[in-house]
């Protein structure tokens, strides 16, 4: 599979603060790329560099095989739709006028505009002024404005931010539909949960660094859930497993970061210490827990 976005040590500093630090992104063509990180991680700044809205301090961006910079941005942006931070649109105009404006600006045919509006299901709200739109409608209009140019790549920065659960679900479906049409969608969020079901590839950003890049399954498999051990004497068991980092957690001993052989060793140690072992299990972890561990700097 070819990659549609590649970056090499992409870095942005403001003063002496590095807010995006040496990113090597690989976004495969045709995928939904979930770009996830907590507030301030550098998602928007990265996306702005992908679009050449902000120039990198160091490193480079390649989109569709070409270097993206101020001299190439015009040609490349014809195939990239985007929505960065807050949705655009002129509030004093109606939805239809906003679409017409994009149409005139980019000299697009009527068909494209109609298709874009239908894709985001906004056709019944076009005559209202944008001022009177709900946030969800503004987001959809913004996406329609980006879609009208029929891009190969769509860069969406937190499109679900501020939406209610129904709106978030609708946004998920929209992204799925776009991907089914063959558009590569890069979508950011500060909640893994929001994108993990739609994204086929995840990039996790924390403190400006890329902490993980790969599939959801790879993310799961690379993280080792804690081992929980129920015993007859929790205190003694905790003391016995201390060399492995065992701690007492509500009457259960919790040991982090154990692989299979290490788990066997720990159990043997407890048996030697004549502690009755009732049960050994792995903690149930959601992807969200994995994400939290990652972004809190605990690593995988």
């Amino acid at each position: 599979m070819s990659t549609i976005i590649t970056t090499h040590s992409l870095t942005k500093s403001y003063g002496d603060r590095t807010v995006v630090d040496g990113l090597d992104l690989r976004v495969p063509e045709g995928c939904v790329y979930g770009f996830v990180g907590p507030n301030g991680a550098g998602k928007s700044t990265t996306m702005k560099m992908l679009l050449s809205l902000v120039r990198p301090t160091r490193g480079e961006v390649r989109v569709m095989g070409r270097r993206m910079d101020r001299s190439t941005r015009r040609e490349l942006l014809g195939s990239i739709g985007s929505l960065i931070e807050t949705p655009p649109a002129y509030a004093h105009l109606t939805g239809a006028e906003n679409m017409r404006l994009v149409q005139r600006l980019l000299r697009l045919g009527d068909g494209r505009v109609d298709r874009a509006v239908r894709t985001v299901r906004l056709q019944d709200h076009l005559d209202k002024r944008v001022r009177a739109y709900s946030l969800g409608m503004k987001q959809r209009l913004g996406i329609a404005m980006a879609l009208a140019r029929e891009p190969r790549l769509l860069v969406l920065d937190e499109p679900a931010n501020g939406l209610d659960p129904a709106g978030i679900d609708e946004m998920r479906h929209l992204i799925k539909r776009l991907a089914d049409d063959g558009i590569t969608v890069m979508v950011s969020s500060h909640l893994l949960d929001e994108v993990d079901r739609t994204a086929t590839v995840l990039g996790i950003l924390g403190g400006g660094r890329l902490l993980f890049q790969g599939t959801r399954d790879e993310l799961f498999s690379r993280s080792v859930p804690d081992v929980l051990i129920d015993t007859s004497e929790p205190e003694r068991a905790a003391a016995a497993t201390e060399p492995w980092g065992g701690t007492l957690d509500e009457g259960t001993v919790r040991v982090p970061g154990l692989d299979h052989p290490a788990t066997a060793e720990v159990v043997a140690r407890l048996v030697d210490a004549r502690v009755d072992v009732y049960g050994v299990r792995r903690e149930d972890r959601s992807l969200e827990d994995v994400f939290m561990d990652l972004t809190r700097g605990r690593g995988l």
Binding site: R70, L83, P87, P88, A89, A91, L93, L101, L105, R149
Partner: protein, 252 residues
């Protein structure tokens, strides 16, 4: 150009039209009104009325009005994600700058149209002047619009840079003061390079105020042509400068 057509769509229901209508009407009202209140007749008919309306208007209200229009046409671009969207389209900085400038030029021309219409109505209805505004003032009006263009282009650049509505307008006011000073001091060479001076100077053509020799002669017509040429050069420089800054600057 697509960007020009797009900018004209943005002017719908824009507050700009209020400035276009109200500012020149206020100038007609205050210039003509003073005369009506004092009870003195207009010594030289249409010429006197024009002088009272337009010369004061050209000292600073016009430049401030153009500055306010520039702030208004850029205001929406500073809201929400509009700046990001504007610069993330396959459109060059030059197209964006020309689009904004074209919208401003149209608004400025419309504003001058309102001023002329208002003056004619005041002349006929309030003072019962015979005939109509002399045709030479229609030509002067064209010159005034041309002289507004570099101010519009410069203010457009300032409003592109500054998020604030008031700051560029304040710059426009200071610029107007400086411009008038240069005209009053007859620093002609310097004035030809200062957009605000050109604007002021254009509003005085044919009135005999400040540097103006009064009734338009062949020599005066040559001066006016020079003024228009200087205005067009400054306009091109300001639009090109705005385009270059747009092309280079990061979207914050």
């Amino acid at each position: 150009m697509g960007s020009v057509r797009a900018e004209f769509i943005k002017l719908r229901r824009s507050l700009s039209w209020a400035v276009v209508v109200l500012l020149p009407l206020a100038a007609v009202g205050s210039g003509g009104g003073n005369t009506a209140l004092s009870g003195e007749p207009l010594a030289d008919g249409w010429h006197t009325l024009w002088l009272r309306v337009v010369v004061f208007y050209g000292l600073f209200p016009l430049a401030v009005g153009v500055a306010a229009l520039a702030s208004l046409v850029w205001r929406a671009e500073h809201e929400g994600g509009n700046r990001n969207a504007l610069m993330a389209r396959p459109v060059s900085g030059l197209e964006v700058a020309v689009g904004k400038f074209a919208a401003l030029a149209a608004l400025t021309a419309a504003m001058q149209g309102v001023l002329v219409a208002g003056t004619v109505v005041a002349g006929k209805a309030v003072y019962g002047l015979p005939g109509s505004l002399p045709a030479e003032y229609l030509l002067v009006s064209v010159l005034i619009v041309v002289a507004c263009l570099p101010v519009a282009a410069l203010q457009s650049g300032l409003s592109m840079l500054m998020r604030s509505f008031g700051a560029p307008v304040a710059v426009g006011l200071l610029g107007a003061g400086f411009g008038v000073l240069l005209v009053a001091l007859r620093a002609d060479a310097l004035a030809a390079a200062v957009p605000y001076s050109l604007l002021s100077r254009a509003t005085q053509v044919g009135t005999g105020v400040f540097a103006d020799p009064g009734p338009i002669t062949a020599e005066g017509a040559a001066d006016a042509a020079g003024l228009a040429a200087a205005a067009l050069v400054l306009t091109a420089v300001a639009v090109a400068g705005t385009a270059a800054v747009l092309e280079r600057r990061d979207v914050a």
